[in-house]
Amino acid sequence: MINKTRHKSLFIRLHIDPFLLIGIFMLIAISCTVLYSVGGNALVFKQLIRVSFALVVMFLVAQLPPDFYFRWAPYVFGMSVLLLIAVLIIGHTGKGAQRWIDLGFTKFQPAEIMKLIMPFMIAYYISQCTLPPSFKKIMVAICLIIIPTLLIALQPDLGTAILVFASGIFVLFFSGVSWLYIGSSLIAVFSFIPILWYYLMHDYQRLRVLTLFNPQLDPYGAGYHIIQSKIAIGSGGLFGKGMFGGTQSQLEFLPEPHTDFIFSVFSEEFGFIGIITLLFIYLFIISRGLWIANKAQDSFTKLVAGSITLTFFVYIFVNIGMVSGLLPVVGIPLALVSYGGSSIVTLLAGFGILMSINTHRRFNAKS
């Protein structure tokens, strides 16, 4: 299509995608504004340190060609599964939930690596043959997805388990699994819900779901957070109450205003206009990601890029759905806006991979 070999732009030589970078910077600016409003200088400062670190990671990840990731995917995947098992064992011999492995100088969560490596592994496996994959291949791929998902869910970390599961399933979707399979598995999942409800769920989990549909059931207990969050969002109105003006967040009616519920603070202080802007930035980033996926040169990179982009969307959708009362509360932060370390690093590393895919071209498309 385009003759890129002759004239490479600076961005391509640096393996940076300017469109994604602009989107990311806009989100970080929004994040800092809201954090300043709820927590003052100190929060912003700490967040900026983390973001800088994550940007460096993103830059480094983008330098390596997709081939490198292709070659290493199965090994890193295998190692991550082993680490997840190790975490479970250590967690059981110790006390209570354990998600961290202590390396002495730092602690890290194997689940975060799993979030990144899952699409690579499934894409690696699926792209060995012509797409769409055979039934047998699909089954094996599903096993590869389910095992780490269960290991993470057992930790227990429901939010991350959902994201890991989604990032694997999305690869299958992009690989062209027939609609018949998709439709029948959806039906299977829905028919499983009653069994889940009556036999597998604990009472407190049922209560959580019930309060989701009717928060007034328990206005000062389980429903309290959802009600307060909805009041925060609703009372923001068209233009919002202005920075520092959010009574819901500033007076601490909202739980965790700087992490999972940061969207409510943003909505309260910047209103519907603010939300439209934020969602527009997200949509811009997602479109760019899908564009990169579509333009990628082989099925492996296509699948990986597609899955990373779609997982990014899941972050946003689940978080916003959760704070506005559409989905149950699971601990998923608002992508690149919530305060917190590991998710930002994982997300930006994901963008680094998108950039790598877009800027390392092994051959020109033949017209």
Binding site: V38, G39, G40, A42, F70, R71, W72, Y75, K95, A97, S127, Q128, C129, T130, L131, P132, F173, F174, G176, Y220, Y224, Q228, K230, I231, A232, I233, G234, S235, G237, L238, F244, T247, Q248, Q250, L251, E252, F253, S267, G271, F272, I275, I276, L279, L283, I286, S287, L290, A293, N294, D298, S299, F300, K302, G306, L310, F313, F317, I320, S324, L326
Partner: protein, 626 residues
């Protein structure tokens, strides 16, 4: 290295077309989902704006946790040792202050705020939100409170808040028993989260960090209550709507006897060491003193880094609980146990005598082990004399003949080399050496010479004062091994809930008479004019059995003479004395260990005497009232 060639795709363009179709589908779905989110937002923020706006304005109902008050701690006589005191702190909500700079200046004049306080305030102000109240000074004096209250109208946004704070009224006397509470740190919070106790600790700032405060944290803490309050637009509480009271922590009563503990502290003034007293029948810990100590209130109120460093770096190590963590060579204080073992294994009988020239040589070697008495204890030393005069030579030989493989399991039955079971987290199990232990620790085999030193409680063997007291109690009761406990009972409205005493398996000997043989020796230590403890106990009006010990801190090489007064302070001998009383019908066991003080019979024995005097005097007073 992984290497796998990607298979060239046969139908590249068909695949690409399939993928593009899927991307379009996804884009469509995402657009729909985002539209759904937006329309939900539109519904919330535009359609229902009025409803939520009103609710937000009327949203004055907040659920707040009410932390429970911490349980009190009493001594065995019902005297309060740890209480909760009202403290007043000066706080400010920065946003409400009309002119923070001027007001702070005025306050500095009024209450003479220090630079440190001002700087801490600035730091906290930078860190937190302007809506939250920030503490300027904690623990205001009565005068400060009065002065501020009189001038409060000048200071908008400033207020005085009353809180309950732990207070240890006897300061450093009970530090190593009670421990202290202190502000929760990140680690505490992590542990609470791990145990799923976040709900219990909502609104709580302090947590037990050491001692009884830590060990019985779950008992002392209580359950928080909660209240629904109505707040005004500044977040200030106007009205309480509903109130679930917190359940206060349980009050507890300890076995510790204030008078005995105070006496012990008085005795140990300016002396590093430890005094432990337990009831031989129940294991009740009457006194547990470790000196030097420190004021636990410093940890509650918060101290400067400098103050903390001073505690941490001090050569006298005040933070160490010597009574349970101090590891000392037991020296001759374990000769009674060693004699029992010698009798029980048949190495000696009641009538076996040895000739003591003042030294003993391991058969087949040239190594000479010296007796503490240069000229020896004479030609006819039997087990009774050996205990009474603390003859080293007798026990060198006995230990050598018994062998470490029989010494180790027997001494473990007395609790040596094991946790005593005392209700404190700060405890060392110390070292009861064995072949395996030495191999694991030094990668060296066990030598006969090692066993010989063990015979007189030197060498690798170390004990904690609580272990030694527990072992003495086991001697006094003919083998009943108690679990030392500080907690006596949990108090409740319906009276007290005493803890049932717990025991370890008793020590059973081949012949019950062995106990009498050894205990007679211990009795002679204090009652016979030639016993090592005679001088200290000559005038006692009760009967006592005891054993002295003088532990070398630095090994004295063979043939090297030393003058007591030339040895540097930190190299002087540790003085030890263990005793139980009364001899016929034992009630309590006492251990005194003095670091670098000199001889056990000259320095430690008089202190044991004074502790026993105090105990029996108090007891007689009590009975004479009835």
């Amino acid at each position: 290295m992984p290497k796998k060639q990607r298979i060239k795709i046969a139908n590249h363009s068909a695949e690409a077309a399939l993928f593009t179709r899927r991307v379009l589908v996804i884009f469509l779905l995402i657009s729909i989902a985002i539209s759904a989110l937006i329309s939900n937002m539109y519904f919330l923020q535009v359609t229902s704006y009025k409803k939520y706006k009103t609710r937000s304005n009327e949203n004055r109902i907040k659920v707040e946790p009410i932390p429970p008050t911490r349980g009190l701690i009493y001594d065995t006589n019902g005297i309060i040792l740890a209480e909760n005191k009202s403290v007043y702190s000066l706080k400010v909500v920065v946003k409400k202050a009309s002119n923070l700079k001027n007001e702070l200046k005025a306050l500095t004049k009024l209450l003479s705020l220090t630079d440190l306080e001002l700087n801490t305030f600035k730091k906290n102000n930078y860190r937190s939100k302007s809506f939250k109240s920030i503490t300027i000074r904690t623990a205001l004096s009565q005068k400060d409170v009065a002065v501020f209250t009189a001038n409060r109208h000048h200071f908008k946004g400033f207020s005085i808040q009353a809180d309950l704070q732990r207070y240890y009224r006897f300061g450093d006397t009970f530090t190593h028993v009670l421990g202290y509470v202190s502000k929760m740190n990140a680690k505490d919070k992590q542990r609470i989260e791990k145990n799923g106790e976040q709900r219990r600790y909502r609104g709580t700032n302090y947590i037990g960090k050491r001692g009884i405060e830590k060990y019985y944290e779950s008992l002392l803490h209580g359950e928080p209550g909660q209240q629904q309050v109505e707040v005004n637009s500044w977040g200030k509480v106007i009205r309480t709507l509903s109130y679930t009271p917190p359940t206060p922590g349980k009050d507890i009563k300890l076995n510790i006897d204030l008078r005995l503990q105070l006496k012990a502290q008085q005795l140990l003034r300016n002396q590093r060491g430890s005094i432990v007293v337990i009831n031989v029948n129940t294991g009740a810990v009457l006194t547990l003193l470790s000196n030097p100590s420190y004021d636990p209130n410093l940890f509650v109120q918060g101290m400067t880094i400098k103050q903390y460093d001073k505690l941490l770096q001090s050569r006298d190590r005040p933070l160490l609980n010597r009574a349970t963590q101090g590891r000392y060579a037991p020296a001759s204080t374990i000769k009674p146990e060693m004699a029992l073992l010698a009798l029980n294994t048949g190495v000696i009988t009641e009538h076996t005598t040895i000739n003591d020239p003042g030294w003993w040589i391991v058969p087949g070697s040239k190594r000479r082990f010296r007796d503490w008495k240069q000229w020896g204890h004479g030609t006819h030393v039997d087990v009774f004399q050996a205990i009474k005069q603390s003859c080293d030579t007798f026990f060198y030989k006995a230990a050598y003949q018994i062998g470490i493989d029989r010494i180790n399991p027997f001494m473990e039955k007395f609790g040596f080399g094991k946790y005593s079971g005392i209700d404190l987290n700060e405890e060392s199990y110390s070292i009861m050496p064995s072949r395996d232990w030495k191999n694991a620790r030094f990668k060296k085999p066990w030598y006969d010479g090692d066993t010989v030193s063990i015979g007189i409680g030197q060498g690798y063997w170390t004990v904690t004062p609580i272990q030694l007291t527990k072992a003495t109690a086991a001697l006094a009761t003919h083998g009943k091994v108690v679990k030392p406990t500080i907690l006596q009972s949990v108090l409740s409205r319906n009276g007290s809930l005493p803890l049932p005493p717990e025991d370890y398996p008793s020590i059973i000997l081949k012949n019950k008479n062995y106990w009498n043989i050894v205990l007679k020796g211990m009795y002679a230590v204090v009652s016979s004019p030639t016993g090592t403890g005679f001088r200290a106990f000559r005038t006692a009006y009760y009967t006592v059995a005891g054993k002295s010990g003088t532990a070398q801190v630095v090994a004295i090489k063979e043939g090297q003479h030393f003058t007591k007064y030339k040895v540097l302070l930190h190299r002087k001998d540790n003085a030890l004395f263990v005793a139980f009383a009364p001899y016929e019908n034992p009630e309590i066991a006492v251990t005194v260990i003095l670091e670098n003080a000199g001889g056990g019979s000259s320095k430690a024995a008089p202190m044991v005497r004074k502790i026993l005097d105090e105990y029996f005097n108090n007891k007689n007073k009590k009975t004479s009232f009835h």
